[in-house]
Amino acid sequence: MNEPLVSRIVILGGGTAGWMCAAAVSRRLADANLQITLVESEQIGTVGVGEATIPHLRYFNERLGLRETEFIQATHATYKLGIEFINWGRLGQAYIHPFGAFGRPFQGIEFHHLWLRHQRSHPEDSLFDYSVPVVAAAEGKFAYPSTNPEDLLAEYSYAFHIDASRYAAFLRRHAEQWGVRRVEGKVARVQRHSDSGDIQAIVLEDGTELAGDFFLDCSGFQSLLLGRQLGTDFIDWSRWLPCDRAIAVPTASCGPALPYTKSTALKAGWQWRIPLQHRVGNGHVFASHCISDDEALAMLRQNLDAEELAEPRLLKFTAGRRRQSWANNCVGVGLASGFLEPLESTSIYLIQLAIMKLIEFFPRCGDNRLRRDEFNRQMDHEYERIKDFLILHYHATERSDSEFWNYCRTMEVPESLRQRIDGFRATGYVQSYQRGLFMVPSWVAVMVGQGIIPTAWHPLADSLPAAALQQNMEQLKQRIRAAVAGLPEHLTAIKQHCADAGASAEPWPKAAMSLYGIFS
């Protein structure tokens, strides 16, 4: 009764997106008689700077049966508990957006309401002291979250800093074992069905014709199939996310690798610092209408803390997304379907999500409109909500030290974001949604971290006597500090976990599709 499955999949482009697609489709749809061909060219470099991840990648690897410790060894990964944002709200200010919630709920209301009340009388008190991953990150500690949900150390998750090109190679090894055929070559032209407009085949420069039933466009910013061939519109978000260039350069390791990413706001953009086991990834994302490439490079170099290991690479982009991620018989994955700067490490997540949705709505021969529409609806939804969250970082600022920050501070933001900011400022409430990557703890982290302190809070927070509240808050902070003090150093944890790589047991906790813990 089943319609015949699509049997020939052609993936255009290697790199992280291409090989994540190849590995996932070949593994998850094993025995579905799929012929999967990936075409890439060694002459075309990969962007390869998506090095900071979020906890969801653990779920992706787990579904593919990839052992976490092998993954860490293969990608020279370090652990990541969050991102530190420096100079974003104002110069001299810093906070960590953690992979975990703050404190514990009180009588059905979120912890931050208690903190808001407490902070009114203790203005020096920091919300971020009530977060295990923040304190652990700041101390350079790491341990797997506890699997006992009652434990204070159960209330966070973790991700990795990885060498993205090594991750692609790691996945390639597995994908080829799982039957993926790799073809070396560059695209010369694309053949389309005259009636439907569907893609029929990719013809390479050497004349090789790669026919397929379905195509995954992982060609990066070029979007060769989805954009150029199928003409899917690009929705430009640069009026809200004005950075359009990045310069990336690796440096030597300098000191113990931190278990968090650093994002430092500069004059016309921001700089990332991603510590791996063997080197540090650095980059400067900037708005080219505010500073020149040379000036951006000079600023990046000024802030590097070790010798450069390669020539800096310049990337050009426009923030936005394709109106449809799936058009005809082609799905764009990764940069081919949209670009959101890696401010919150969402690049690999969006690749992962597209793949998971693709498998969920896997195409069959015949009419795929229903599957396509649902896939596009869900992807659009995700992009839109991440977009708002990223804009928040730029807009929630007091900075007035450059043309760039003046623009960001005063720009008109999307109405959905405007309501969320105004609502939080007035009441302490974050309008939450059920589906989306960034939930209440993340919105609170960035808004409070960048200086949006509500003038009101849930009135139940006033029901505790001031002395009891102060005592409870102090005790919670002490418990967190004590718990973190017992954790191993970050590098010690990596060494220990990798030493156990061959063990049959899996010491790492089960993965979850959540930023904030391992249980949901």
Binding site: F361, L370, Q419, T427, Y429, Q431, L464
Partner: protein
């Protein structure tokens, strides 16, 4: 934040809704008590009997209302779900209008079989793939396989048996999920016993609502001339006594109250089965609740579906519509107690911290609208099934859900989703919508293995159901017996 913006709450309406609302607020605000006044005004609008899902149990637990005490004092019985019965007329229309959408099992069967709908899981997921995808494979080898044979609630209810959920996660009885059936007058009386002693309860045939210049409710005169003022007003009345005094901004006029209930004597076991029934056909939905020697019945026309939600902006100014002031829908999968509990939690989460209520109201209305849209999707599917599968009864999202499920067994999810995936899948199966394709993740070599697993699963569930006591025996031994 020294002086709370909301100190006096006025709740208007009769029946259990205003009292449950008051009890909820008093429990939640026990550390900073609110002044609460209940004005019993307007018509008594509650149905005589209610069947509810398990969210009322969860709410009771949170409010400290012990199950045994509640059941004993209200005479409630247990509720495992609803038997859906399809009127024959429906099938004729079904065949003539949708010949291409039919699954072969339905094609070969002139009557759509009864189907048990509940909130408990249907089957167990295998290899992290949802059960209903595997079930699809079983149907290929066993044309008469029933989806609800994999639901312990259904097996228990059909056999007139009952067991509460086991707390042991490895027990098959951990799957059981129950609510209650009860008389609403008894329930209101029971709840009244849990009101805080300082609750002011007033009775008034009429209200004269006074507004401030900004359009907020200042207070109301009772028919005896007494003036009741408040900061926040909650309208639970069928006549919308408060809401109708506020200029409507939503542009939607409130529809009528739901049709009345009929009451008949019932034969057989006086306790009744641990279930209810719903008959769908000829554009009607007939809800039947057997309870304590009687049968309570409501016939609802599908034509009225667009008016089942009465207010697109339930929170306006300082007035919130709950219960009958907001909903006029029949209890289809989701009942009024669930919607009330959901609204109360939402209200608690968004309790206004300042006298400017606009932010809280905006967030509240947005969240309610999302929930209402998802409820409307499932309601519209009921109307669609009862009215011979006429697409005009379906919401746009329900059409999308139906087509996607019929195609691949996929269940798109939206913000505010109330039904579980299992409930959606069961509802579609009940309506004869069976996916045409199986999940691509199910490999060919898995199918034989899966069929055997499913047969074993079904056998295990049947044996478990057979071990459970009869509903009446459980009730007598575990609820009524002294010292139980």
């Amino acid at each position: 934040m020294d002086t709370p913006a909301i100190q006096q709450v006025v709740i208007v309406g009769r029946g259990y809704t205003p009292i449950l609302t008051a009890v909820f607020l008093q429990k939640k605000w026990r550390a900073a008590p609110l002044g609460i006044t209940i004005i019993q005004a307007g018509e008594y609008i509650d149905p005589p009997a209610l069947s509810c899902v398990s969210s009322l149990r969860a709410l009771h637990t949170e409010l400290g209302l012990a199950e045994k005490d509640f059941v004993r004092k209200t005479g409630a019985s247990f509720h495992l779900g609803t038997l859906y019965q399809f009127h024959n007329q429906f099938h004729n229309q079904f065949h003539s209008q949708f010949p291409n959408q039919l699954h072969n099992r339905i094609d070969s069967d002139p009557a759509l079989p009864d189907f048990f709908l509940c909130e408990a899981p249907y089957g167990f997921n295998l290899k992290s793939i949802h059960f209903h995808h595997w079930f699809h494979g079983l149907v290929a080898t066993e044309a008469n396989a029933r989806f609800d044979d994999f639901c312990l609630n259904a097996l228990l209810a059909k056999a007139g048996r009952f067991s509460p959920a086991s707390s042991r996660s490895n027990s098959v009885f951990a799957q059981v999920c129950h609510g209650y059936k009860f008389l609403t007058t008894e329930y209101a009386r029971y709840l009244a016993g849990h009101l805080a002693p300082d609750t002011r309860v007033k009775d008034s045939r009429a209200l004269e609502v006074q507004l401030t210049a900004e359009g907020k409710i200042k207070g109301a005169f009772l028919d005896n001339g007494e003036w009741i003022a408040g900061d926040l007003f909650i309208d639970c009345s069928g006549e919308r006594l408060l809401k109708k005094a506020i200029p409507q901004v939503s542009g939607k006029s409130a529809g009528p109250n739901p049709p009345s209930w009929q009451e008949e004597e019932a034969a057989g076991d006086s306790l009744g089965p641990p279930s209810t029934s719903l008959t769908l056909g000829e554009g009607l939905l007939r809800i039947v609740i057997p309870l304590r020697g009687k049968v309570y019945r409501q016939d609802v026309s599908c034509e009225s579906q667009s008016q089942w939600m009465r207010d697109a902006a339930p929170w306006q100014a300082n007035c919130i519509a709950l219960g009958a002031a907001l909903w006029a829908r029949p209890p289809l999968l989701i009942d009024s107690t669930h919607l009330l509990a959901s609204a109360l939690y939402r209200l608690h989460r968004l309790w206004p911290p300042t006298a400017d209520l606009r932010v809280a109201a905006g967030f509240y209305n947005e969240s309610t609208a999302e929930e209402a849209a998802c409820i409307a999707d499932s309601d519209s599917l009921h109307a669609w099934a009862a009215a011979g599968r006429r697409d005009e009864y379906l919401t746009e999202a329900a059409q999308h859900k139906l087509r996607l499920f019929a195609s691949d067994g996929r269940l798109p999810r939206y913000d505010g989703e109330t039904l579980t995936d299992d409930q959606w899948a069961a509802l579609f199966f009940a309506c004869g919508v069976v996916p045409r394709c199986s999940d691509p993740l199910i490999q060919n070599k898995d199918r034989t293995w899966a069929v055997n697993e499913l047969k074993l699963m079904r056998q295990t569930l049947r044996e478990a159901a057979d071990r459970a006591p009869l509903h009446a025996d459980f009730y007598r031994q575990q609820v009524l017996a002294p010292g139980a």
